[in-house]
Symmetry: C2
Subunit: 356 residues, 2 copies
């Protein structure tokens, strides 16, 4: 049996998972990113997570693996956790080969081939960090980077909602909107690795300005920031809404969850916000359907918790706007790995790119 | 050397080409579709075109092939041209194997696997026509269907503007807008064969109604019909435009060519029409760039004749709207096979699907 480590580097947490090649999660580690402490600290946190799952026998009785050796090249960052691991495991060097790779799903601009992250949001001083070579050197295991949204898509394809499908689109509905395209079980990267920015399809060429510089992007309407913005705007004209009561009159407390709560109790303003969100999302999905003819669209991220508040108007819009043919067999479903998709997909990336 | 026949079934003409596997055009036939004469007539016209290029030695000195045999199963439609061909060629039956397939690029709704065209615009009575089996039976050669825009894209990829690229998008700017996506030299079909409807990406969710039922599609703005509609609207308020003079005051005579002619002479109204057309097209391409990160976008069809009137505002919009990364190496170019892309691509389809 072969193994791979997958790391999901998030703004808040780092999730690290050890997977076997059959798609079984063997060990899992979750720790705070603590990005405010700077680049070197985060690099160390990632290493701790990796060390933790490699050392899984001691921490997780479910894991059948022996401790894994680090090869002689190990060096670079010194970490207490890693030091301990090394002492315990060098006796069993042959097991190194069982872990074919480490995959890291990271936000920001990534050079897939060189394994460098050019920038990472929320981490001060993160410039041109050669993550892949750092962990290759540290653990003696080949390391591969992937964009975080692509990782999440690949994770959902491998053992989640997209399992067994050939043409899959994944949208991560969080603060912003990330996307990933999976064709025949592989992330579609396009010519230079930039493909899959599905949140940055413009739905209205003269719409609101998006953070990316374009106008009217899906990301400018539909994710958490869009819901919060539109709710605040609506509340200015309507103080009778249940939302206003739930937030105690403080617009700073508007969240998608509060708006969903009010909508479920029949609040008109809140329902309209979700109807519009579904409409925007459905308009974008209709475009994807006409272009890609996907078998499945997987929606992940916090907003999917709104359930039918989001899915009903979204389906209505997709049916009204897309061609009939490609909608006939289309599935649009919520993801099945809310916490682990990114790390699972990063492990799959490692399996695929290590050629195992 | 292996050969394949490619047929481009257009509303006006049928272009039929015999290609060798290296991408050389060995013979070419062009004849009017005469769609108004109905289904059976068009089926016969296609057969005549195929017979003509198969019989190339007698008609085209450049072609090195001997006349090709029709196998004993031939039957079905009886055609004088085909009868003659059969008489001349049955003596040389072994050559049949040199032609590995016939590919037909057709408009309308196509079932790729079954080789059936469900509907074809402009041809009365065209319902569920099993084109592939008709020519398989007629010529004893395996026959494959492809959507016409996909064929054109594949043709430009094989021996035209997209030669040697891995990630290509092709937009056919004609009366409407067709599209094709080529990944690693193969048409991307999606889950059910409907992918690549690139003219039906909505640029404005509350824009003008498109023929497909959606609102604000690229096809509702940018192709010939959009240019004509927008020019007529503008002329109502501005009779001083050179366009008005060129059409002798008759709005029925507005064509993209006339608008281009006036724009080249500096006419403000005409320039605005082309600026807007480039803006709409650029907005759509920016979306494709963010989603696909293509290496090249190939523009084909009559409108590309406008040259920089179209390309300049289009590039400006793409640069303003798309992410910087995927635009850096992006090429956007006019097609190189204005008349033959569809037939060439249909032949390539036959090579690919016959597995040769």
């Amino acid at each position: 049996m072969k193994y791979a480590v997958g790391v999901d580097l998030g703004g808040t947490n780092i999730v690290t998972i050890l997977m076997n090649e059959k798609g079984k999660i063997m060990a899992r580690d979750k720790r705070a990113t603590e990005g405010w402490k700077g680049k070197d600290h985060v690099i160390g946190r990632i290493a701790q997570g990796i060390a933790s799952v490699l050392n899984c026998k001691m921490q997780n009785a479910k894991c059948k693996m022996s401790p894994l050796a680090l090869n002689g090249q190990a060096g670079g960052i010194s970490l207490p956790a890693q030091q301990k691991l090394r002492q315990r495991t060098t006796h069993d060097a042959r097991r190194t080969t069982a872990v074919v790779g480490i995959g890291i799903g990271t936000p920001g601009l990534v050079n897939l081939e060189k394994g460098i992250v050019y920038e990472a949001p929320n981490i001060p001083g993160w410039n041109n960090v050669p993550l892949a070579s750092i962990y290759k050197r540290e653990f003696g295991i080949r390391t591969f980077l992937e964009n975080d949204a692509n990782s999440a898509a690949l994770g959902e394809w491998w053992i989640g909602a997209g399992k067994g499908t050939r043409y899959m689109i994944c949208l991560t509905l969080g603060t912003g909107i990330g996307g990933g395209i999976i064709i025949d079980g592989r992330v579609y990267h396009g010519a230079d690795g930039y493909a899959g920015e599905l949140g940055h399809i413009s739905l209205s060429f003269d719409g609101p300005k998006c953070g990316c510089g374009n106008l009217g992007c899906l990301e400018a309407y539909a994710p958490a920031i869009g819901i919060i913005r539109r709710t605040k705007e609506a509340l200015r004209k309507n103080k009778k809404s249940l939302v206003y009561k739930l937030i105690g009159g403080d617009p700073g407390r508007v969240t998608p969850a509060v708006v969903a709560q009010a909508a479920r109790k029949g609040d008109g303003l809140a329902r309209k916000i979700w109807d519009d969100t579904g409409y925007y999302l459905g308009s974008a999905i209709a475009n994807y359907v006409n272009i890609f003819n996907p078998e499945i669209v997987v929606l992940t991220g916090g907003l999917t918790g709104a359930g039918n508040l989001l899915f009903k108007p979204m389906w209505k819009t997709v049916r009204a706007r897309a061609f009939k043919g490609p909608v006939k067999k289309l599935m649009i479903v919520a993801g099945k790995l809310p916490d682990d998709a990114g790390a699972v997909g990063a492990a799959k990336t490692a399996f695929q790119r290590a050629g195992k």
